[in-house]
Assembly symmetry: C2
Homo-oligomer: 322 residues x 2
């Protein structure tokens, strides 16, 4: 890195966050309390993208977008707060499946995204347009402009991610995971540059397989992380042997990974400098360190704005940034 990109008193740190959905968005809520939002770039998983009724839906991008815009439903962590479902009800009258709960305000996003896409806008351009209209200062970069579709193998065969995750409520045993289209995918136009220029890359507490794993599988992204000289810091999404939300623990077990902060460190060890793990997992410190990863113990349960900010602060501090 050239000297002008080193953080200084006059230049606040640049932060890149690798982000899946809800866990990442909650971490970002803390991050923007302790860093200028305009200096934060979220590189977001698009493997969960899906099409409903011909509308393009990008769930993780929208979770980050709505959260940063202050619009997100705080209980679910996705969708728009107080949204109604009148269009969806009517789509049901037209015989359409309605298990993917698209609210009326949320549908506007998908209508507009689809409209822009059909006019030739890339996912990166769409995300940028949505962000600006909603007054979001954090940069939102889809991991790739090429379509990547996460698929999950179960005892019933390969399923599209949303079929597994939403329609079947993540109830199946996960035997394998693949990212259709990943070979042809390239990092979004600003992604590698953002990773190279960031003072810290934070791997958010997201699913290591189908959120972060998808981002890492885009050819060029993992390499860019490995080549960094400044810190990459992950926050473990596994606390006390389980996830706070979502099926990451069962997926990790299904794929033979250790369901612990150690399993997270193993998944990221080739580029990871620091792992922030929960106080409950203090006893795993030695095993993580043996993998060549520095450990910071913190309260990682994001209960409210204060604990979110505190976790973000600890994470930046591991890189000497606070």
């Amino acid at each position: 890195m050239s000297i002008e990109h080193l953080p200084s008193a006059s230049e606040p740190p640049r932060v890149v966050a690798l982000a899946g959905g809800v866990g990442a968005a909650r971490f970002l809520e803390g991050l923007v309390q302790v860093v200028e939002p305009a200096r934060v770039t979220a590189v977001v998983n698009t493997g969960d993208d899906a099409e409903f009724y011909g509308l393009f839906v990008s769930p993780d991008v929208d979770i980050v977008l709505y959260t940063m815009a202050g619009l997100v439903d705080p209980d679910q962590g996705w969708g728009v707060r107080g949204d109604s479902f009148y269009a969806l009800e009517m789509l049901g009258r037209y015989g359409q499946e309605t298990w993917f709960r698209l609210g009326d305000r949320d549908l506007a996003t998908h209508i507009y995204r689809t409209h822009l896409s059909r006019q030739g806008a890339t996912p990166s351009e769409v995300a940028e347009t949505l962000r600006r209209h909603l007054g979001v200062e954090v940069s939102i970069l889809p991991m790739s402009d090429q379509p990547v579709r996460t698929q999950v193998r179960t005892h019933d065969g390969w399923l599209a991610f949303q079929d597994y995750f939403v329609k079947r409520r993540a109830a199946d045993d996960v035997l394998d995971i693949r990212f259709a289209g990943i070979e042809a995918a390239q990092p979004g136009p600003a992604v590698v540059d953002a990773i190279e220029r960031a003072d810290i890359v934070v791997v958010c507490p997201s699913n290591p397989l189908v959120s972060i794993g998808t981002i890492l599988a885009v050819p060029g992204i993992r390499q860019a992380l490995c080549q960094r000289t400044l810190p990459v810091v992950a926050v473990s999404p596994i606390v006390g042997g389980a996830t706070i939300k979502g099926p990451a623990d069962r997926m990790m077990r299904g794929l033979g990974m250790e369901v612990s902060a150690v399993g997270i460190a193993e998944a990221y060890r080739d580029f990871l400098d620091v792992l922030v793990l929960d106080e409950q997992d203090r006893g795993l410190r030695g095993r993580v360190q043996e993998l060549g990863v520095r450990v910071v113990v913190a309260d990682t349960i994001m209960r409210d704005a204060a604990t979110k900010a505190q976790l973000a602060g600890v994470t930046l501090h591991t890189a000497g940034l606070r």
Copy 2:
């Protein structure tokens, strides 16, 4: 016509109704009280069709659809009763124009129509699919499967119909009308056959220029009406020198037509057998008859279910069908 298509006691009459928007839909509400709905075919104007945010909207088809499904907003005569506008509000946040008031339930129709269309369904196939899902027994035939776009010339130049009608609230003087695409348009696949087989064709009390006029301009439809031997009956939309709803009177005046039942009879005289005109216009009877059109005087103001049914009954009676 072959003998088996003549009405008989065992076979209820087949009725074709040429339909624009609100006035036609209200007439149809009466018609289905006095004729089996499954024997009614509405041939509907599509010149008002427009695209908003990449969604295909077919206002007159939807007015007929919603009215026949019992879903229509009874005060406006269009849109879904009690609809909300949350998606539209959100589209406004994305900088989109929101003067065309698409409700949330209504949007579902346009989302589904667009989805079917992009999969290759024709407007006729879409209308049929929508009708079936909403349990509508009346056949709804778009006048043509080819795109026709009504445009209105004002002192500010040519305007798309919805720009003139909704955005600018029909406030401009209308200097001319054209139907872009009309030369390449063909009648919808079942339209001419329906007209040929109908025991009566009713020209609904719709705008004679931009609703009925558009249908009549589709090559082949006017000719099919002229070739009928069984009656064509129109209900005058002009009562006492003005329209009940909409800008037909000002448009007719702008184009140099007489704004009266006589003007209506003149517009349709080449195929019209009977004109039903309002009691207020009883004095015009002689002038209409001079055009070779038989006159029936009735209460044509559709105030409620009873007056709608009565008007439909009178209309059928003119053809000896009730």
